[in-house]
Symmetry: C2
């Protein structure tokens, strides 16, 4: 099972690496990080580069497609080589997936028409224009389309997907090996649990960035 | 505040990238991935490379030192340039931290003598020989030494550390931006919650690898 993870300039690293850490442990899985051109791709903070080992053109038929989010997503909303690759890869994939604002790229490529989809809580509304149906859930499964909420939600998404692909015992073994028994020391991880003032202030900032 | 994350061949990617995703969002933080030599460093699966932007020698005095774990840790147990760098960096650091079996490297470098420390649940016993006191907890704070359990525990560690460094509201804002409201679809994340047969089988496998 080949798993293609799309990289692009200013992606959010954990969106990609969280699911990678789980899916790469599936028996027989081959994860390939791919970008328009092979080589190092810098994440949104500028402080980290991950190598794209393949060009998109080298991976015409991955079994799983995974699209991370990140501020660089805005440069991937117009049609072009990434959309073309996504459509071709999706035509043969078993699962087409995204984390965070990666769902905006899938939607812009025309792959989420009429489908329920998750995204970062600050970006959910932006799923509507390209034809998807925003769902404020951590992981949304609609047919073979699996979309996760912001950043860290990709870990839950990948673990659930692993269970569907390889069975519960295999997914449990992966969960135990990465000790995924989360104990957040704070309880501000969703707009429903965070202090309302913080939610409001981040909403304002996202509408008027910079 | 400069945060140096050590890379070495066959590190576990999420050990490094989980904390990076949180600590890089602290105001004024500069995360630098560093290895003995700059350049791409391949993770334990062979399927991912992260760029070391600096050589260890370029970072004599980071404010935070972070050591990820991974199978490649076994090549870092003998004294050498990594241990020398760790001891020098630790002499001036505000926090010296590790994720997973990264604590075995810290211990081998002589930095955890007599200190309580966490590690991957399968590696805890190996902390004893180099003089640390194994603690089966998700995150252990002993003075300025902060050690996390396996792989995903680095996320909880970094969020807690962010609260101590920048205050609770700043850490809450980071938690909300990465939507860290974990919902594991399975409950096998620790040896206390996983099916006992699975725990036994992974223990056997780790004692007789390959």
């Amino acid at each position: 099972m080949q798993i293609a993870i799309l990289l692009y300039d200013r992606f959010t690293a954990l969106d990609a690496i969280g699911p990678y850490e789980i899916l790469s442990r599936l028996s027989g899985a081959e994860v390939v990080f791919a970008a328009e051109q092979p080589g190092p791709v810098r994440a949104d903070t500028g402080m980290l580069a991950v190598t794209a080992d393949a060009a998109l053109a080298d991976l015409p038929h991955p079994g799983i497609v995974l699209v991370p989010g990140g501020p660089g997503q805005e440069g991937r909303m117009a049609d072009g080589p990434v959309h073309e690759w996504l459509r071709k890869a999706d035509a043969a994939s078993s699962w087409t997936t995204s984390v965070c604002t990666g769902s905006l790229i899938l939607a812009a490529a025309g792959l989420l028409d009429g489908r329920r989809a998750a995204s970062h809580w600050l970006a959910l509304d932006r799923l509507r224009a390209p034809g998807a149906r925003p769902a404020g859930e951590r992981v949304v499964i609609d047919g073979k389309y699996v979309t996760a909420a912001g950043v860290s939600a990709g870990i839950d998404m990948a673990l659930g997907l692993s269970g569907r692909i390889a069975g519960t015992p295999a997914a449990q073994a992966i969960q135990l090996m990465i000790e995924y028994d989360p104990r957040p020391p704070l309880t501000a991880g969703s707009p429903y649990t965070a202090p309302p003032d913080l939610v409001t202030s981040l909403r304002m900032r996202s509408r008027h960035p910079g």
